[in-house]
Subunit: 424 residues, 2 copies
């Protein structure tokens, strides 16, 4: 058991920060939240007692859309529009990847997630055996999202993966999905709809990221991507849509009807000049919002603090309203919303029985002072510098700048540089 | 003398990063840049030799627009449009400030500047004796910008300050300026133009920050703020304009003709929903660009990394062009551009004889790997977490998370909280 005491607790984004409460973890779970009696405290033995010294314990961030192993392309092909970047730069380089490379490149991403207080990634990539090895060795939680596209795979492969990876480790799950409408034949999408029906499972994919994508889909099918997927039955059991920049009112109606999650990736959307997603409009329509970084080749970092400020800042600009998208809404998307969009129903908030996916935020840094409003401080002025500790499933993986993932970061950096050098 | 060796050197944003070069500082200046002969090295004694271990030494960031002491209002009155925020929240609270409060609140800002690798602030505020004391005690460089407005002061006060503070310390300078058109009577602005003429000095101010400000100025004077200032002779010796969100083509012509600096504050502009400044258009017209955070009450942080990503990201969105505003342009604005806009002609780049205003960027963190392009890594994925060391005028003020400003940060945090508590 680990005991966190003498600090502040934020159980979820909409609850006030409390002082005096304690949180105890037992193995991978949260065992106790509250003010313990002296008797209860005496009865308990702890393997570690962590004096928070006034700092904040809160639910960790979850990254609801990423391609972790794309770390190798960070700062490699910037300043290009999405379609050119994807087809001319990314796909040819990705063709040179193999399992071992994905293993090291994923570990590099895991290090970065931990520095930003993120304990889980909704990850769409390939070479999944090596990906799973990298995550489980590190103690990092991952929800894999089926990455099949017309060129590479088919629905049979997707089904095999779904059956193979769910249950392979408590840290790993796999959800049905495919890359995007513009890389999938209609037949593949129909097959995926059948899988959704067979397993009564949600399906997730990139959707409505660029105006070009939506325009070409309408030209091809007479429908937006959202309408197309809905018509094919892909959304019958819900799903998460990555990006959602260009949505019609009817699209939003479908989101609402099907309980779809809109996964917002503002850093990637500005860097690739894709646009600003209508997040406030979606939220006001009752659609759940999650937050993701997208891959490090398009962002180029995996920093949930930057995404949080961008989420609120871009909505304020889009709506010409400085009151739009307040801090608690942002914090909720980055923690609870993202967890639920990934199907991590037990990783969303701090409560007894939930998974101990937790972070300690150092409040005694200049950007967190004075403490007029801690939630606003985190969203409007927080940074990775404030992440003092990151725990995933009850294990401390990052503390005071040091990593505890069973691998020397220097070896990971060396491998990442060797991998990209070997490809150039 | 301090010797930096065994690392990478970026002398300015547009030069390639080199390996093998050394930088030596002597008191407040850079004494040597290059590869020393063994003889030269033997002859020299150093008070400290810093093994960079492959990390990057580069010019520090300069914050070209801020109101440092507004730290007390961080996360106090968010989510309001600029004019309401300013007149209903900020001005009434500021009326309760005194010199001692400004002293402590400025020190809090200085701590935060150092964490983001920033060594100088172009600062518009009041209680200047205490402000100067806070900066000089800390070893932090400041360029004060005249803050007179119609309600508080007059041009005589401005002139007194100009004469008093220039020369008061090697770290301090004072430039003519006033708050903004919408807080100044025409007579005050005319008097300031006379001062500009008398001392042949530039004049700086908030300008064209919101559409409302420009519209009301046009209604009042039949001219935009830029045209008004130009007509009054305020710009005869140049100046820096803070924000520049809403500019006409004629305004941009005036900027070009007068060599004005456009000081971009993207974090504040999104947070207050003011809009996106036409930075690429200004730059392509030959106007110099500087970067600032604005005050911590409107941003809410003083993080140059966040500003850098916002600068490029917002231009990409504004112009619907992922190639807009590349990384070297951003890095140049945050270092050289900001220094020159503040009149710090000897703090702009790494070269012999320049001021030793330097930072060490930790490249061996996950967000800086692999090293495909170091400049892009800094702008697109850098964070305060990468600032390993900050030197101002040759003095190490921040290193590995510790501050060396002659004051315990805990005392500064305590005072900041006491100050805001006493005002509520």
């Amino acid at each position: 058991m680990i005991r966190f005491y003498n600090g502040r607790i934020m159980t979820d984004a909409f609850s006030p920060v409390t002082e005096g409460q304690e949180v105890w973890t037992d193995a991978d779970k949260i065992a106790f939240v509250g003010v313990p009696s002296e008797e209860k405290l005496k009865e308990q033995t702890f393997e570690r007692e962590i004096d928070l010294n006034g700092d904040l314990l809160m639910p960790s961030f979850k990254n609801a859309h990423t391609h972790s192993a794309m770390t190798f392309l960070r700062s490699y092909a910037d300043d290009l529009p999405l379609q050119d970047w994807l087809f001319e730069q990314v796909f040819p380089m990705e063709a040179k990847l193999d399992g071992e490379k994905v293993y090291w490149l994923t570990k590099l991403a895991v290090l970065e997630y931990l520095t930003t207080g993120c304990t889980a990634a909704f990850d769409m990539y390939f070479e999944l055996d090596d990906y799973v090895k990298a995550c489980t060795e590190s103690g990092f939680r991952s929800v894999m999202c089926g990455a099949v596209s017309g060129e590479r795979d088919n629905a049979k492969v997707l089904e095999e993966r779904y059956l193979k990876y769910n249950g392979i480790s408590p840290l790993i799950s796999f959800r049905l999905g495919f890359h995007a409408e513009y890389t999938a034949e209609k037949g593949l999408m129909e097959d995926i709809a059948k899988l959704a029906e067979k397993y009564k499972q949600s399906v997730s994919m990139h959707s409505s990221e660029t105006a070009k994508e939506v325009r070409e889909c309408v030209e091809k099918y007479g429908m937006t991507p959202t309408e197309l997927f809905e018509g094919l039955g892909i959304f019958n059991y819900g799903g998460a849509c990555f990006h959602c920049v260009h949505l019609s009112d009817n699209d939003i109606e479908i989101f609402k009807k099907r309980g779809l999650w809109a996964v917002h990736c503002p850093g990637s959307n500005v860097k690739l000049a894709s646009g600003i997603a209508p997040i406030v409009k979606l939220s006001q329509s009752g659609v759940g919002i999650a937050l993701g970084t997208d891959g490090p080749a398009s962002n180029n970092c995996l920093d949930m603090f930057r995404e949080m400020f961008l989420m609120t800042g871009l909505q304020k600009i889009l709506l010409n309203d400085a009151a739009a998208c307040p801090a608690d809404m942002v914090l909720d998307a980055a923690t609870r919303g993202s967890a639920l969009a990934m199907g991590l129903d037990d990783c969303d908030v701090i409560a007894e029985g939930k998974q101990a996916d937790l972070i300690v935020i150092d409040l005694f840094r200049p950007n967190m002072q004075p403490m007029n409003n801690i939630a606003k401080n985190i969203v409007y002025s927080g940074s990775k510098q404030n992440v003092k500790m990151t725990l995933c499933a009850g294990r401390v993986l990052y503390e005071d700048g040091e990593f505890f993932i069973g691998e020397d970061p220097k070896d990971i950096y060396r491998m990442a540089n060797e991998i990209i050098s070997s490809m150039k």
